[in-house]
Point group: C2
Chain length 230, copies 2
């Protein structure tokens, strides 16, 4: 792990020197009962790479992480959460201190209406799960004052850029990084990814690469846009 980190030392820059960056990563899990939950396929790799790249670029980084099996990047302060509700609380308390928020977590859109206190027993019949919408974490963070510079992620399986642009407007954020998780070798579980970074009037494409390399390119671009914003 240490050797792995030292190997990235050449990626150091001062692009984010003096900035406080809040990153979230990984899935959120929504419990059904004490043993079952609804999860999603986010491995957290992209978000952890982004947190690491921001730290290597000189930022003071706080990483809020869902349940993943990944080591904390060197120099990064990490807070672990489980559900979307916990993530929201944590984001609302950290975001006012951040210059930039990069939200890569795959937040569960729905949770069960009520978590069962004991394990639901199997029977001959099916069961119905009543799911209610979770709060939109990024849209809530966009209301925080002072409002940080906000970068979202959109992981889609179809109409990727269209959905990403809709998300940019609806959540009132500054940038969105869109990726097609249905593309072979990219996205969930994979070590590589390809991204399109979208602002209100421009877009930048980052070709398929390792998540660490891609995170470095993304951080450089985000820093330039943050520094150059009017």
């Amino acid at each position: 792990h240490i050797v792995d980190q030292l190997g990235k030392w050449h990626l150091r820059s001062s692009a984010m020197q003096g900035l406080k960056v809040l990153v979230n990563a990984g899935p959120t899990l929504e419990d059904i009962d004490p043993v079952r939950y609804i999860g999603n396929r986010s491995s957290g790799k992209m978000g952890f790479s982004v947190a690491e790249a921001a730290a290597l670029a000189g930022a003071e980084v706080c990483l809020i992480a869902g349940p993943v099996h990944l080591p904390t990047p060197l120099g990064v302060r990490r807070i672990d959460i489980r559900s979307a509700t916990e993530l929201l609380q944590c984001m609302l308390s950290e975001a006012p201190h951040a210059d930039i928020v990069i939200a890569s977590a795959a937040v569960a859109d729905f949770r069960v209406r009520e978590i069962a206190k004991q394990k639901i027993k199997r029977g001959p019949d099916g069961i119905h799960l009543d799911l209610v919408p979770n709060p939109d974490v990024l849209a809530e963070v966009a209301k925080v004052q002072p409002r940080p510079f906000l970068v979202g992620f959109a992981a889609e399986t179809e109409n990727v850029l269209t959905y990403a642009r809709l998300k940019l407007d609806k959540k009132n954020i500054d940038l969105i990084a869109a990726n097609d998780v249905a593309r072979p070798g990219c996205g969930f579980d994979a070590n590589e990814n390809a991204l399109t970074l979208i602002s209100r009037d421009q877009q930048w494409h980052f070709a398929q690469a390792g998540k660490s390399e891609l995170a470095g390119q993304l951080i450089t671009q985000v820093a330039a846009l943050y520094r150059g914003r009017s």
Copy 2:
């Protein structure tokens, strides 16, 4: 990993010499759409320890594993599966060749009626998930001819021994290892566990210990009961 395995070399025995043992471990995940799934908290640690202990006791071991982050024990043949349906297919093809089946996987009791082909979009309203019962893997394996000696697991949060005895009868198996996953420091995610092994007319309690040690004790007892069965 290798050092870890060599450290267990003193646990070798010949208790299962010449036997073929089929173990399953970990959760099964039931997809809702391309990104979301229903999972459970099984880490697979207990089942992987059981597979390792059986190998150290001289058995030829096949381990069918749900999605977990664990290395394959030395000398064990591993097959990875995702859903309960995949697990059942795999168990039915492997079980006829096994002398003993030890089923520790936390098989999902329910799956969604139909997996959505594209990511379900969030909206202002909730959604309803229609869950249908999965096949009872162990009960199906109990119908295989020649029928192997069958050991199940029962992870419960209440009335542990009562539910375990019911499971023993209903599934028509030889032994069941019951553990209380609500007990602090035990069960899911934990490195320790405590078990009660139950047969039709006897029971043996194994006090709280590391999962490797506990697995060794369990394998010794299972081997004795298998060799001594009438």
